[in-house]
């Protein structure tokens, strides 16, 4: 039975127990705040980061894992595994995918490594990673896992709202949502990730309207198999969103998580996201190991 290692990055926002249960290898990005450098989710927790973010007057910055860091991880995994699938945050939001690709090229030949751009992040990356990890545990080969992961990416949709566009703008991750920057009035935009970039869905004027708009947007998806509800500093809206969507997705199929510090640095306090997973595409008969 082939052994395939599943690698992702810290922006996947997978709950710790899932990371452990499915043997997922997480490479952290780094976040810089007030002159200090932290490994995303390793040397700083989401809660601690939010405390700093809401008190600091500076804007945090982030950086991708180095090529060397990926080389290290890939080389270590090569000792135990026959192949690696490395799935990452949208290449249009971060250079992480690029680092992983370069690392693969330097150790080319030692073992097959598939590097995949999820064109999303947070649980938009997390759901495809889970799909890959479950198949890896079940003993599927790299090709099959690769194909299923790409299908899972197509079946995953991330939508979110922010309290202010300032963090996205400062971080340069604003994408087409730049169309809605620069208002003199209070604005609570609803955004989506599409093809790996942030695009605007709607401008609303108040948080309750933004939350209602977000719920409506999620309800418009014809198929919902699982949902992830992501918050920064445990926003109270999460429960309201979960309740409003309970008829479309039972609670036990919802994943609640905090946004990783790196993502929180780019969306700011008060952001709330929902990721829709439409469900696994069936594998063909001959793929069953």
């Amino acid at each position: 039975m082939p052994r395939v290692a599943v690698v992702t990055d810290s922006t996947a926002d997978l709950p710790r127990e899932m990371i452990e249960a499915y043997d997922i290898h997480v490479v952290p990005l780094t976040v810089h705040i007030d002159g200090e450098v932290f490994e995303d989710g390793v040397s700083i927790t989401p809660a601690e980061f939010m405390r700093r973010l809401t008190t600091t007057t500076t804007f945090p910055t982030t950086s991708q894992p180095s090529v060397g860091r990926f080389q290290e991880v890939f080389n270590r995994l090569a000792e135990e595994y026959d192949a690696i699938i490395s799935i990452h945050i949208s290449s249009r939001l971060s250079g992480t995918y690029q680092s992983a690709l370069l690392a693969r090229d330097t150790i080319n030949g030692r073992l097959p490594i598939s590097v995949i751009d999820s064109r999303s992040t947070s649980m938009g990356l997390g759901f495809p990673v889970l799909r890959a990890a479950k198949l890896a545990q079940a003993g599927y080969d790299l090709d099959t896992i690769d194909r299923a992961t790409r299908q899972a990416i197509e079946s995953t949709h991330a939508v979110f709202l922010v309290d202010t566009l300032e963090y996205l703008r400062r971080g340069g991750r604003i994408g087409r949502a730049a169309e809605i920057v620069g208002t003199v009035l209070q604005l609570k935009p609803i955004l989506r990730l599409e093809e790996g970039v942030v695009v605007p869905h709607a401008r609303t004027r108040t948080r309750p309207k933004a939350t209602a708009g977000l719920i409506e947007l999620v309800r418009d998806f014809p198929r919902i198999d699982q949902l992830a509800i992501l918050t920064t500093n445990g926003s109270s809206d999460a429960e309201r969103v979960a309740d409003a969507l309970a008829d479309r997705c039972p609670r036990e199929r919802m994943i609640f998580a905090e946004l990783s510090p790196v993502l929180a640095a780019h969306v700011g306090p008060g952001a709330l996201g929902v990721v829709v997973y439409e469900g696994d595409a069936p594998l063909s008969i001959e793929e069953v190991p």
Partner: protein, 574 residues
């Protein structure tokens, strides 16, 4: 025999004077319309004063004057000379009125001219019978154009005038006889408008549009009787029109383009951590013409003309990341723009300038602050105008013609601009939808309901629904003493309006605002936005915001510059 032109209108031949009473050729008709405009002009202020509410808004006299003036200009422009036919001149005048129509009264005036022009079709002369039939047709068109026709308005006046004209024409087809009958009845009907419409009685005024119509008929009648007045020249036009439209930097760059310009107009956003603004500006300026580089160290908006847009982008990439890159071939752009303007004439067919599925949101407002607020909420362009200066059909069309989008949603933001906006649809090959916002707060509420993932019709539906989700409050001063809907106000006092209805008056602006707010279900609302206007005293907004905050602690209050004329405060409650 008519021989006007040969001897000059000031000293008409005897034969022409006889003919003037009986029927008008095209050339004579131009003289008649010019006389009507000149006769109307001294009455503009008086008609403006016939305002139901003691608030500075919808100047009917100004709107009618500018509309009829546009009609005459177009008729003159066609310049058929002494051989001109009456039907050609009337068709030209109707088109001019359509393009120049401002406000409700302007649009109805256009309908009247269009009705007369229609009845005159095929006739070289306008005589009493043609005029009577034309007024009848005009009344029908005008009634049909209004969703809920109200008696005691311009509509009643035109219908009564048409009936009188028909009766007169049955006996005598002479133009002056028919005009005299129409005028008599029109004046009489205007006097009766307060009996028909209670709000006029309360305000102690006659209907302004009806009065304007009677004045125009009187001008025509004077001409029929031999008086010729000339139109004031362009330089002495008594009313200023709205200034050129303000547009978003990346969407409207015509001002920067010379007619003979060639090459590529290159626009983009450059973002970075610590952009050397001066250095970027210097290098961009070296590489092209008409360069504009604005912004700060984190984001620069760049516009430049160059034969080599690729080089510009490469240079910029050395400094940071590029966004919203747009490169237009200026020769093609100029051509498309001209064709599109030409398309404003209904007979011309224009090809699409650029394929785009995007929807443009065009709003009407006056004041830098309101303009900026609307743009921030997503308005692609803002046509200057509002309660006091209603934009013309043509001014709205001109702004739309300069936009790349093929679909346009119009937000009139004033009840008197809605009819003008509705005229735009059939004057362009673009798809136009009007979301009938009656105030800037409604416009902002509608913009907030715009959805990037929905199509035109879905957006029109949700934006229209959003109009009902906001209350519009306004604080201004009474332009005269009045008692309306049980509220008594003295000239110069502060008055408060809720959704265009007078609700409170008094000396203390804070008390007036609180009184109006109390009627607007503030407990149901989340957000209150105060737009500070030109006349507001410096501390007014702060005092009002504090008082509202004390009275309604659950409301989020934001204060923004509106810079709107005449209205101290405009307040949105949503």
């Amino acid at each position: 025999m008519t021989r006007e032109g040969a001897r000059g209108v000031e000293h008409p031949a005897r034969g022409e004077e006889v003919d003037r009473e009986r029927r008008w050729s095209g050339a004579t008709l131009i003289g008649a319309l010019e006389t009507a405009v000149a006769h109307f002009e001294p009455h503009v202020t008086a008609v403006n004063a016939l305002n139901v509410f003691p608030v500075p808004d919808g100047d009917t006299g100004t709107n009618m004057f500018l509309t009829i003036q546009a009609a005459v200009r177009e008729a003159q422009r066609l310049n058929h000379g002494s051989q001109a036919r009456a039907d050609e001149v009337l068709a030209g005048a109707a088109h001019g009125a359509l393009m120049g129509a401002r406000g409700n009264s302007g649009v109805i005036l256009y309908q009247i001219l269009a009705g007369i022009a229609e009845s005159c079709q095929g006739a070289a002369h306008l005589d009493g019978r043609v005029l009577a039939a034309g007024l009848r047709r005009a009344a029908d068109l005008a009634y049909r154009a209004v969703v809920n026709p109200v008696e005691g308005t311009m509509l009643t006046v035109i219908r009564a005038a048409a009936e009188a004209a028909e009766i007169a024409a049955a006996k005598d087809s002479s133009l002056s006889t028919v005009l005299a009958a129409a005028l008599d009845t029109a004046e009489d009907t205007v006097r009766r408008t307060p009996e028909l419409l209670d709000i006029l009685r309360q305000a102690g005024v006659v209907d302004a549009g009806g009065q304007g119509l009677a004045i125009l008929l009187a001008g025509l009648q004077r001409f029929a009787e031999g008086t010729t007045l000339s139109i004031p020249s362009d330089e002495t036009v008594p009313v200023s029109t709205a200034p050129a439209a303000e547009m978003d930097f990346l969407d409207h760059l015509d001002e920067l383009h010379d007619a003979e310009e060639f090459g590529y107009c290159t626009n983009f956003l450059l973002t970075g951590d610590n952009l050397p603004v001066e250095e970027v500006r210097r290098r961009i300026t070296e590489l092209g013409t008409s360069a504009v580089v604005v912004g700060d160290k984190t984001m620069l908006k760049i516009h430049v003309h160059s034969e080599h847009p690729g080089t510009i982008l490469e240079i910029a990439l050395g400094y940071g990341e590029l966004h919203q890159v747009r490169i237009d071939n200026m020769t093609a752009q100029t051509r498309a723009l001209l064709e599109d303007r030409h398309a404003a004439h209904p007979t011309a067919v224009a090809p699409s300038p650029a394929d785009t599925t995007d929807i443009a949101l065009v709003a009407v407002a006056s004041g830098d602050g309101l303009t900026e607020a609307l743009r921030g909420m997503g308005a692609t362009a803002v046509v200057p105008g509002g309660p006091t200066v209603n934009p013309s059909t043509e001014e709205i069309l001109r702004v739309i013609a300069a936009l790349p989008q093929r679909q346009v949603i119009l937000l009139p933001n004033d009840s008197n601009v809605i009819p003008t906006a509705r005229q735009v649809e059939r004057l362009t090959d673009r798809t136009i939808r009007v979301v009938p916002s009656r105030s800037v707060p409604q416009g902002i509420s509608a913009l907030a309901a715009f959805n990037f993932d929905s199509d035109l019709e879905e957006n029109v539906a949700s934006m229209t629904e959003a109009l009902g989700m906001v209350r519009s409050l306004a604080l201004t001063r009474a332009t005269r003493s009045a008692e309306i809907d049980g509220v008594r106000v003295e000239q110069g006092q502060f008055i408060g309006l809720l959704d265009d209805r007078l609700r409170a008056g008094g000396e203390d602006p804070v008390e007036v605002v609180l009184a109006v707010l109390a009627e607007a279900d503030p407990d149901q609302a989340e957000l209150l936005t105060v737009f500070v206007g030109e006349p507001a005293s410096p501390d007014l907004a702060g005092r009002v915001a504090e008082a509202i905050g004390d009275a309604y602690p659950n409301l989020t209050i934001e204060v923004a510059a509106g810079d709107q004329p005449h209205y101290d405060l405009i307040i949105a409650l949503e």
